[in-house]
Symmetry: C2
Subunit: 437 residues, 2 copies
Amino acid sequence: MTTETITVAPPRGMRDLLPAQVALRDWATQIILQNYGLFGFTRIETPVMEHIHLLRGGEGGENLQLIYEVLKRGEKLESELEKSSISRNDLSDLGLRFDLTVPLVRYYSNNENDLPKPLKAIQIGSVFRAESPQKGRLRQFTQCDIDIIGTKSEFAEIELIQATTKALQALGFNGFTIHINDRRFLSTLATYCGFAAERQSLVFNTLDKLDKIGMEKIREELRSEQHDEAAITKMMEFLQSYVRAQESGNTSFEEIKKLLPEAVTGEFMESLQKIIKAVESLAGDNFSIRFDPSLVRGMGYYTGAIFEIKYPGYSGSIAGGGRYDKMVGKFSKRDDVPACGFSIGFERVMDILTEKGFTPPFNAKKIAFIFDPDRDESAVVVQAANSLRDGQNVVSLQARKKDMKKQLDQLLAQGFSSYCVFKGDPNNLEVKQLEQK
Amino acid sequence: MTTETITVAPPRGMRDLLPAQVALRDWATQIILQNYGLFGFTRIETPVMEHIHLLRGGEGGENLQLIYEVLKRGEKLESELEKSSISRNDLSDLGLRFDLTVPLVRYYSNNENDLPKPLKAIQIGSVFRAESPQKGRLRQFTQCDIDIIGTKSEFAEIELIQATTKALQALGFNGFTIHINDRRFLSTLATYCGFAAERQSLVFNTLDKLDKIGMEKIREELRSEQHDEAAITKMMEFLQSYVRAQESGNTSFEEIKKLLPEAVTGEFMESLQKIIKAVESLAGDNFSIRFDPSLVRGMGYYTGAIFEIKYPGYSGSIAGGGRYDKMVGKFSKRDDVPACGFSIGFERVMDILTEKGFTPPFNAKKIAFIFDPDRDESAVVVQAANSLRDGQNVVSLQARKKDMKKQLDQLLAQGFSSYCVFKGDPNNLEVKQLEQK
């Protein structure tokens, strides 16, 4: 190491987490794990790195552009560099995962025989995206997913929603709304309107913006994409009736169903109804669920129900997920293996809790044990400190400083609630409150 | 994604962790955090990636050869590839951390003003080394470190040892031995024997093998390295007397001190004695500590006390650490900032627990709630299941299969302790034991 200038900031878009930040995250993680656990979900883990061809070949959508690739090593790298023309894509053999779903699907295919059926998996871990960093968009961040692999029926959706809402409530979130839709509804509606199948994903991406840009901009965008004019008109008619219904508070499943042309129907409508009815029966006054025909969600791999949770006062969503029945089958070369997942926006939730000034409950006493390193004998000091440690108390040794008043102020600022100045007699320890003056 | 063969195994040297494996690791992590917490340590986190020049410039010893480097992206990569001769080292700008100590030192320098003094940090996280994988040697593995930055006195060593032994005991480890030495002792001894200062690290690396290869091989290796013959003789004399003392059970600090030539002394002897005395006063019959003049430990950055914990019946160590007073100063360009750390060999400890057939305690009832997806109404099922979930019970929905006997056997194998077959009436739920036949 040289004595030249050393950058001590973390890499761009990544963070050093201070003790209080980790404490909040650890608390939230515990609460989430505990609540997911009640529903029989268990945590699994995959490596941070995956084979690069797996990541590139996965259905990562825009994330494929954001993969951190790991350089080949040793002879493999040398032989690439010796080639007359170097191919950029051949320089790496591993990459950092950009989500937890692609690794989960690989994991399930690799370990199927050793896993319970259905698999109810919890994953909490770091993912990596080479984004332009900005507020709320990091290059390394935590995802917190639950998935059920192997359940076809809508009980999977219901259990995922139930576990997620229970966890969010335990974190202090209430009054949120679950928006639910179904990919099969979206394509049935688009086909009915007259959009060609291969152009539908473009249409859905526009629809997804309804909340943000409003009806008129939606129409403009659909036109600028040169879709069939009659199809646009049909779609706008439906959207208009949906927005009107929303404005007059008619947001129940039955009301929205009435707005649909008769041809727009299918098994998915029953399935949606079942999910909504079951979740409503659990919601009480704490949260609500509604059919949202404009909900799309980005990823291309969804095949059925999709859902998102919105929290009043905050734009965007605090959780999102859906059913992806085709993805596992592609890895394991078998018939479709049904799969459905729900992800809490962990960083978003941490930001909201921090904005609210929330600090995790801490019941133990935090005692600073102040000793004189020049006078007190180490064996006696540690024994004495240990006698206070019994039970739950946190006891931290602190060498006495000259300005004791300043030292006590600093300890208070560090979160100590009490202190004990050691006077040499282990049988005579006085623990005092540290108080704000 | 193509339908070609897809490798579903994780990358070489990395692991998929099954639910039971994660459960063990989560349990152990909680126990460790809880026990470290009692001493006032708090968890911090750094990114998985660091600037590549920081990793390359750090004092990583052999690990510098094992860094996973992250390929530059976009224009930065293009401009490297356009150069007439491509320099291997310019292709990457980030790397995956190979330990938690280099990032900790950067972290401290970056956040010093927002951190308590001394900083008592816990770090639990993945590190990455491009090793040849083999049993017990992975390419991604978990490290579990505690460090005290800002304490000069041996109270740091004592508190680190105390917290680590308490955590190990809580994990069920007893009867282990802490071996302690001091780098300053090693260099004073080597200088006294007559080894040139710049050749001493070679000598230490050989000494470190005493346990494994024995006296004669040590002499041979020192000779083959062409050290001064008189120096070798002096060193071997001391080693001989140490081995003899060990064999006759004279392993107390006082006994070993008697073996040392008078010139081999210094402040470090007092310091070692203080640490040993204090730790002995806490050990009781559960573990022991001994001065081990042959202990070296690999890393070049140690400046004072070094220590390792050995567990009877297992070779190698289950924890290791030491004082590194110069490293922080190099980052923050200031006077030495004292620092000392202790790391539990997390993977080693997991392996031993698994070998012992240990499973973490689980007190809640795990109930499989079996319903008929064709008959039962979803809202009624989830409500009924929920009524059993109250309190701590884990309740997992399971669709009824044709062969109920087989289904119950599978549930038992998955760790369910009870089951409830839903018969349509939420007010009449019967929970039965699942029992091995």
